[in-house]
């Protein structure tokens, strides 16, 4: 069934009895051309692009829980392509372009809202750095706009410009950035992939990989063996655990990142704002809640919940730039498990086992990358060669010294 305005009206007049499930809850077959491990945003997007762009439809997405229950349902929904380095920016700009056409592509309202993102500037040195970043973005086909303090005051009159410690001196805006309804991304990709014949298999946990002479033959799961021509793993925070089943140690630590949402408020925050002197980013959801987050907790964790010191740190960041946030009550907070890589950049690559492919290391930037990650991983799975925009995301770059260290922190995952 194709969704459309006409369909909404027709169903409304007929008592909404014509809506079926958006995707089939499939049982595993014996063999697939491609098995994707992980039914999150990246895995489902990979399945969609494999089927729609590369004609590979004999595909299964297997998920240990329910689809969209991991980080794609646990983020702050921001999309942007404001990266500096050559290895990153073309990839994230492709992602933003895919977001722009996503809803037509998958026939699903993902509520892509290009409401703009502004990184605040608090010092002259930071302005210099952001001018450089903006120029790098423009060179790679993205949009960037430098705002002075007067322009900022026109757009966001209520920010804390006079703060003695971190005065706001301007901002770097990306107007095409914004937010997307995160759950709809998982559901939309699942539905689009399912319509092209992809099996989505839930409650199916991988327990091992079967290999012979260095070739991957398939996966052992809690629902039996599933044979596969190729296996792609996209399991975010669980990457180290799953790849350990294939005898691999990854350049990844799993860390917990917390996010927060307040009670619903009247519209006050038209775009996305990020604090430049601490780590704090905030937007307002369509329901009115202020959605915000900050740093990871900073220690290895698989707990999907964090501790109070970081809550305090994030709230201090919020109070520094928008003191009125202190009057809002916090409704919910949650944690997700980030696959923090050693240089802060992702990995989309083959492994030492033929037919086994890895998509991991998204740190806390995986949501915005969902479409490009899916497309690049589908390209790798279908052609065995890296996508043009993902050539730098090699697993062996830590051996060869070709790190993509956007933040210049070295091999210290909790600082990226």
């Amino acid at each position: 069934m194709t969704y459309s305005g006409f369909r909404v009206i027709r169903e409304a007049l007929r008592g909404d009895l014509g809506w079926g499930p958006a995707w089939r809850d499939a049982d595993p077959k014996d063999h697939y051309d491609v098995v994707i491990v992980g039914g999150g945003g990246h895995g489902l997007a990979t399945a969609h692009y494999l089927a729609s762009r590369y004609g590979v439809t004999n595909v299964a997405v297997i998920e240990k829980g329910w689809i969209g229950g991991g980080n794609v349902g646990r983020n702050t929904t921001i999309i942007r392509s404001n990266y500096l380095l050559d290895g990153n920016e073309p990839f994230y700009e492709m992602s933003l372009k895919l977001w722009e056409g996503l809803e037509q592509d998958i026939n699903y309202n993902a509520m892509v809202s290009q409401r703009g993102i502004i990184n605040l500037i608090h010092s002259d040195a930071q302005r210099d750095a952001f001018i450089r970043r903006g120029n790098a973005m423009i060179l790679n086909g993205a949009d960037a706009e430098l705002l002075d303090e007067a322009a900022m005051r026109r757009e966001y009159p209520w920010l804390n410009y006079e703060d003695a410690r971190f005065p706001i001196k301007g901002g770097l805006a990306q107007r095409r950035g914004g937010t997307v309804r995160h759950d709809a991304v998982a559901w939309g990709y699942a539905r689009a992939a399912d319509r092209r014949g992809v099996d989505i298999i839930q409650n199916c946990e991988v327990t091992g990989f079967r290999t012979k002479n260095g070739n991957c033959l398939g996966v052992d799961t809690s629902r039996g063996f599933i044979g596969a021509g190729k296996v792609g793993v996209a399991v975010a925070g669980n990457s180290s655990r799953v790849m350990a089943l294939a005898g691999m140690r990854l350049p990844i630590e799993s860390h917990v990142l917390q996010a927060f949402v307040t009670e619903g408020l009247k519209p006050i925050l038209p775009g996305v704002i990020t604090f430049g002197a601490g780590h704090f980013y905030v937007s307002q959801s369509d329901k009115g809640g202020l959605v915000f987050g900050g740093d990871i907790d900073g220690y290895n964790s698989y707990a999907q919940r964090g501790n109070l010191p970081v809550v305090e740190d994030v709230c201090e960041g919020g109070m520094a730039i928008m003191p009125m946030i202190g009057r809002a009550r916090l409704l919910r907070m949650w944690g997700g498990i980030m696959d923090m890589s050693m240089d802060g950049s992702p990995i989309i690559d083959r492994t030492h086992i033929d037919g086994l492919y890895l998509n991991a290391g998204w740190c806390y930037g995986g949501f915005k990358a969902t479409p490009a990650s899916g497309l690049a991983f589908a390209h790798l799975l279908a052609t065995n060669a890296p996508h043009d925009t993902a050539k730098a995301y090699r697993l062996n770059r830590f051996e060869t010294g070709h790190m993509i260290d956007e933040k210049g922190m070295g091999n210290q995952p909790n600082l990226h």
């Binding site: 180290s240 350049p251 707990a303």
Partner: protein
């Protein structure tokens, strides 16, 4: 999280800074034939277990001691706290 410091007793974890897996105490031998691969594994590859994890914490807001803490990464429960210097001495003691 509360870290039961061997010298000070229970302290809030916010006094401490996290470094990573305690295997970072075991630097490979730079004279070895396989030093390049060994240092790659040492610097970049991690076990990253879900469960008990031995890790290095620095008491920055205290006596600036390094600790080896055994902590469950699924529950955040801390089961053992040792001074890193004691661990290192034990490792280097002749067998």
């Amino acid at each position: 999280m509360i870290i039961d410091h061997p010298l000070f007793g229970p302290r809030d974890a916010s006094e401490f800074v996290y470094l990573g897996d305690a295997s970072l105490m075991d630097r490979p031998d730079w004279k070895s034939e396989t030093a390049a691969q060994d240092f790659h594994a040492y610097a970049y590859l991690r076990d990253n277990p879900a469960g008990p994890h031995r890790e290095l914490w620095f008491h920055e807001g205290g006596d600036r001691s390094w600790l080896v803490i055994t902590r469950d990464t699924v529950t955040h429960e801390i089961t053992r706290v040792e001074l890193a210097r004691d661990v290192a001495r034990k490792q280097r003691a002749p067998q």
